[in-house]
Symmetry: C2
Subunit: 437 residues, 2 copies
């Protein structure tokens, strides 16, 4: 039988060199989350469908992979936040709050496949959940986590666009806008369409010219915090929500300065809404300055009522998520990443004269001192063995021919430079331990 | 609405302390695989159903999670080996052979839930795939990988039980056994049932008394390689497959000695069959000496025809797999593991006098020098802050009250011993960097 051996559409699969780089990314990201005291918690991929559907909402609900097995109505998670909410509610009495949790794992969205969109993909999340209350300083902590994490990925300049849903909702309230949801939806996409297009779309709703003008003015506000905040004061609105939004943003800005986050790394951008329904306060999206076409590479925000939906208590949370499969794949396509190594081995031992026992003993010594190494065990001539080492993309080959066995000196060949050294085993180990892999 | 907040039956979910230990396990295991030059390759959880069903076989087929989404007939992987076979066949021209790949990730088996059985669980696999040929030394390499990996998990004494399918098949052939599959199935379970029970079951098949006696004698052979190999010679069988099995086992034993694998760590056990159909030669199962009730904690073997089923070429492979979710959970229940830390943080900064800017600057300095640290940002009194630090299970708290701010000396409290030091920031950092977390 002839099989289609390609992965299904929307499923990522990498070459060894790409995968090694992807593993590095996972380590860099979770390493930084851990540095901030976030502790890993893993929830199952499969959940009761009712749990996920409770919080999915319109578009997401259609995308869920849901099926029956025996009596169970199962669904595959579409994010890490809803399972976190369930976990926290279920383990409330055993956890310490504010609870910092990191999650890195695959999530599933069976959406129509298109370039750059995945159906199975990694999200790397960090969230803080409070019991009854959660101070605004935690929102700033999450933003500072984004700034340091994205910086460590070395993807060039980036900017974290911050907004506050309260500010936007208060603004719409003050303007007495009727079709709030449609307006929000338009504002959310306002960076993707032209000003005239946005104006046209807004005019189709129940808004007068003054309201349209105000909304356009509002949604185009973007820049340094102090400046935008002072421009907002000019709107002279007497609305509680709006003012609370302003206060929160002022406080977050202050905390970011205390946390030493460079002001060049973030801005206040009033067009940021975030699609998901559960956000209630501060929201943020991150963009690469030199690759804006990638869209938001890391988003998140404050959700005061999500966990409470599964619990008896109010449990406000704030968190962020990087869709790393998509970001990694796009960074590869754009040439921002250069996969190099194709193997975990630092050195490959080649028993050129076929003396396996001697070669096996050497590889065993190398591994004992934590030098990642493999050995070519297939009976083969010198040429084939050297070709294997060359194709493998390994940095060093340790050649073990008759000369080496008789003299007790090994030949260590640097496959990148062609340089060859003659060293005994101890000196070889010492040399390799001082090389970066 | 009231939700059932527990994970579905058969789905693992850990506490923070348990999860941290589980993460350590994942690192120890993949770290050792990498030391042997195995490179990570991740395939999707979702595959075309036809790919997985092609190699699933009877019992496994019933356990597969399979469903339709739009036009696609999807299934969740039930192991890492079948997806590996597809990956290698699909990328044959781009890979270097022998190809060493590691995989760690969740697999799915919707079996009837029972104690200690999971439906969603981690497997950690290492495999070597050859092109056209794969020398028997690679089988020894995999066994040596098992020995070093299980040793690093610190679960006490263990023993790797080795056998060879060719030996067993040749033996049955020489005995002219008709019902080979049923006999294999009985031998596979022979360690779980009594000798008289086994004898009774064998008598129900088309076997005469001599054959039953020979089979019993054969299947009970177990011990040191050299001894069992010489006992096998006594059977005096003139069967090609049997003799090839003998030769292979002799060679593997020799290679294991060259690789420095302690003879106490493995034995020849003729009752080892392995359930899966695709094994063709050497097979192995690992047991904990002091917890035999756990059954096999790590199995594997040689499969000469699995990858070829998706390819035009013969691509023999050998590999091993640890079912780490089950092993970890059972080791927890048996008290073999003691979860300690409940957080990734080495230190928690407590702004006792409420001076957040000062505290935020300190936590920022700690993170810069890679000291995992968090800060308590909720407005709260001294007592509540200290309680949080205590409950968190963190080793150190850095107290920042008025005295500390005025004097420039921080109070570093060891929460395990109660000891408190007064140090400036540089000395605090130096002290913490010399502690193990």
């Amino acid at each position: 039988m002839k099989y289609n051996l390609m992965p299904l559409a929307g499923m990522a699969e990498f070459s060894p060199a790409e995968q090694l780089l992807f593993e590095e990314w996972k380590e860099i990201i979770t390493g930084n989350y851990r540095l901030f005291g976030f502790t890993p918690i893993e929830t199952p991929v499969l959940e009761r469908a009712e749990i996920l559907l409770a919080k999915a909402g319109g578009e997401t609900e259609k995308q869920i992979y849901r099926f029956k097995k025996g009596e169970s109505d199962l669904a595959m998670r579409f994010d890490h936040t809803v399972p976190l909410a369930r976990y926290v509610a279920a383990n409330q009495s055993k956890l310490q709050f504010p609870f910092r949790r990191l999650a890195i794992g695959k999530v599933y969205r069976g959406e129509r496949s298109q370039a750059g969109r995945f159906r199975e993909f990694y999200q790397a999340d960090a969230d803080i959940i409070g019991r009854r209350e959660l101070d605004l300083t935690y929102d700033a902590e999450i933003i500072s986590l984004i700034a340091t994490t994205i910086a460590k990925l070395n993807l060039g300049k980036f900017i974290i666009n911050i907004n506050n849903r309260k500010l936007v909702m208060g603004f719409l309230q003050a303007l007495k806008v009727m079709d709030k949801d449609q307006v929000l939806h338009l504002l959310d996409s306002s960076e993707k369409i032209s000003e005239s297009q946005l104006k046209k779309e807004l005019s189709l709703l129940r808004l007068d010219t003054f309201e349209v003008r105000q909304l356009l003015k509002f949604s185009r506000l973007k820049g340094e915090f102090t400046q935008v905040l002072s421009e907002l004061a000019n709107f002279d609105l007497n609305n509680t929500q709006f003012n609370q939004g302003l206060q929160e943003l002022t406080a977050v800005h202050q905390h970011l300065q205390n946390l030493g986050v460079d002001e060049k790394l973030y801005c206040l951008n009033l067009s940021i809404i975030r699609g998901l329904d559960y956000y209630t306060g501060v929201v943020f999206e991150t963009k690469l300055v030199d690759a804006p076409g990638l869209g938001s590479i890391c988003g998140g925000g404050r959700y005061d009522n999500l966990v409470g939906g599964f619990s008896q208590e109010k449990m406000p949370g704030v968190g962020m998520s990087i869709g790393i499969t998509r970001l990694f794949s796009q960074a590869l396509s754009l040439g921002l990443l250069k996969p190099k190594r194709k193997t975990c081995s630092q050195v490959v031992v080649l028993p050129l004269s076929g003396d396996l026992p001697a070669a096996l003993k050497i590889v065993q010594q190398l591994r004992k001192v934590k030098i990642a190494s493999e050995i070519y065990l297939q009976p083969a001539g010198i040429k084939k063995q050297l070709k294997y080492a060359g194709d493998l993309g390994v940095h060093f080959a340790l050649l073990l021919g008759d000369d080496e066995i008789n003299s007790g000196k090994l030949s260590l060949k640097n496959l990148d430079t062609g340089e060859q050294l003659s060293l005994n085993l101890a000196a070889t180990i010492d040399y390799l331990q001082h090389q970066t892999n």
